[in-house]
């Protein structure tokens, strides 16, 4: 498995997709520090988790997944791997592992840049380990959140244009949903606020937010009864991830070369 993982990275030598992807983690921390006047470290890191992860990381994971999964088809190399033999399931797992590593690295980069900006602006670094935990956890959860869309990308097979359209709608739908009271203000159960990944992650993350001002405090109080606990959030997202991985296995099993 380590060799297979290493090979996945070698395949992208001279292609800057990983590098540009990680550099994108700088966008929101730099943008926020220039245009917004964040007053505490938690608030800065909250921006990294929500803006960076919901708006940038999610679509990038799906675009990267399309590249990772299509690279074998585009270059007719799947037969070489299957003849080694590398089982298709193992190939799926290793590609998902690459995505997970990318997701975590992206979040850590965002955390590091935001921390540097906070230091430069003389903002006290409070609870750095807890903030780090939340940011890395968001990376894991966003990876799980991207999987339903990646299933669609694999299912539709070899169409980058379709992948981009799917990415656009999936990201937008998820992002818009987390602003909707009708979706978010619902108890845990079989509803969009629980089953859609970004609303679920937001329900978990928001409990760690430090509200400022009357409006935020009132919203925090109103929303607090719908917060998702850490085990519930991870359970739901990882269960969805397992279902998606199972579907990916089935797609690969039923596909002939």
């Amino acid at each position: 498995m380590p060799n297979l993982l290493y090979a996945e990275f070698i395949k992208f030598k001279r292609r800057k997709i990983f590098l540009f992807g990680i550099l994108a983690a700088l966008i929101f921390p730099v943008f926020n520090s220039a245009l917004l006047s964040e007053f505490n470290f938690a608030s800065i890191q909250s921006g990294v988790r929500e803006d960076n992860a919901f708006l940038l990381l999610m679509p990038m994971l799906i675009i990267l997944a399309a590249n990772l999964f299509f690279v074998e088809q585009d270059n007719n190399t799947l037969k070489n791997l299957l003849c080694i033999p590398i089982p298709p399931k193992k190939l799926v797992i290793v590609k998902l592992l690459v995505l997970l590593l990318f997701s975590i690295t992206f979040q850590i980069t965002g955390f590091a840049v935001s921390t540097v900006i906070a230091v430069i602006k003389n903002i006290p670094i409070v609870d750095p380990f807890f903030q780090f935990f939340l940011t890395v956890s968001t990376g894991i959860l966003i990876w799980a959140a991207a999987l339903p869309c990646i299933v669609l990308v694999i299912w539709f097979n070899k169409s980058y244009l379709l992948s981009i359209i799917i990415v656009f709608f999936y990201t937008l739908t998820n992002y818009v949903m987390h602003f909707s009271d009708a979706i978010m203000m619902q108890p845990i159960g079989l509803n969009a606020g629980t089953l859609m990944p970004v609303p679920m992650i937001f329900r978990w993350l928001y409990q760690f937010y430090k509200p400022a001002g009357d409006i935020q405090t009132a919203f925090y109080k109103r929303f607090s009864q719908y917060f998702a606990s850490t085990p519930i959030c991870f359970f739901v997202l990882l269960l969805e991830a397992f279902i998606c991985i199972y579907i990916m296995f089935r797609i690969y099993d039923n596909r002939e070369n």
């Binding site: 060799n3 992208f12 270059n75 007719n76 037969k79 070489n80 299957l82 033999p85």
Partner: protein, 307 residues
């Protein structure tokens, strides 16, 4: 040396109503080159894909190294080197970098395995040229290097000379023979080019419309090639009547307006010639001939020739 390395029993692959491979019984012996000969679309690649577990058969069994391929892929496939259809590599990597990936995944421990494989196919080691800049011939050579890099006991090569220039074809032919004769590899090679198979193979299987029509050694096939006497006469129909009446034989074929082929080579050419002339026929040519492998191919496939 007659142990079977590959054996299939009633191997079939159907796509809906279409029978791509139909009840194929293939026998590849150890240390020999088996040439699978057939036109494009005859079922050669589908057969090879099934042997490599890249495609599931509709029915039938495949035994390689004496074991059923299904359930034993992990044991069998590492002992095989293969080239199926067009070469597939990562375009943003050099040839050496591409091979390094597969060496890593195969766990090739021999230090100079990549360098040796590239040397065999005449490609430079650690060259900076990317695969995307390779010519078709170079791509094909790299694919062959990949197939032999891990020193497999069995090679399955699907049209390995595709895209090669005449010198490249001769080089590939030489090293395939060397692999078999010097390194004692067993090789299954497919081609639609009859002359290549005739030059390379020890055993030949002729496949047409998914059916294996013949499976014999090259020497057996050559022995079976019919000898015949070809006459160019003024009236082949009358010549045919003379053959039937005077020589009591119907083992002939009238070809065109002036030619007749007599497959009974026990008869004396001079006697036949004299008899035709005595019966008022003009005989302008009389030759003793032998069918070529292509003639044989035409006969068994009941159709047109092959390249």
């Amino acid at each position: 040396m007659n142990e079977l390395i590959i054996e299939t029993k009633n191997l079939s692959k159907h796509y809906g109503e279409q029978k791509s491979v139909d009840n194929l019984n293939l026998h590849v012996k150890q240390g020999r080159i088996y040439g699978l000969l057939g036109r494009n679309g005859a079922g050669k690649t589908t057969t090879m894909k099934m042997l490599l577990n890249l495609s599931n058969p509709t029915s039938g069994e495949i035994s390689i190294f004496g074991e059923n391929i299904y359930g034993n892929e992990g044991k069998i496939l590492p002992r095989i080197g293969s080239l199926i259809e067009a070469p597939g590599f990562y375009p943003n990597l050099t040839g050496t970098e591409n091979l390094k990936i597969y060496a890593l995944l195969r766990g090739v421990s021999k230090r100079n395995a990549i360098e040796s494989a590239l040397e065999v196919v005449g490609l430079p080691y650690n060259d900076r040229k990317l695969f995307s800049q390779y010519s078709l011939g170079m791509k094909q050579r790299l694919a062959i290097a990949l197939a032999i890099m891990h020193d497999p006991e069995l090679l399955i090569l699907d049209e390995p000379i595709n895209g090669l220039d005449p010198i490249g074809i001769a080089e590939v032919r030489t090293f395939i023979r060397e692999l078999c004769e010097v390194k004692k590899k067993t090789i299954l090679i497919s081609s639609h080019i009859l002359s290549e198979i005739a030059l390379l193979a020890d055993d030949i299987g002729i496949i047409d419309h998914g059916i294996l029509l013949e499976e014999q050694s090259l020497s057996e096939l050559e022995d079976k090639n019919s000898k015949y006497i070809n006459f160019v006469v003024s009236d082949p129909a009358q010549a045919a009547r003379i053959l039937e009446k005077n020589f009591k034989t119907v083992n002939f074929i009238v070809e065109g307006n002036h030619s007749i082929r007599l497959y009974d080579d026990n008869l004396s050419v001079s006697l036949l010639n004299r008899t035709f002339i005595e019966n008022g026929l003009e005989v302008s040519e009389a030759h003793t001939c032998e069918d070529t492998l292509e003639d044989y191919f035409k006969r068994v496939t009941g159709g047109e020739g092959i390249a």
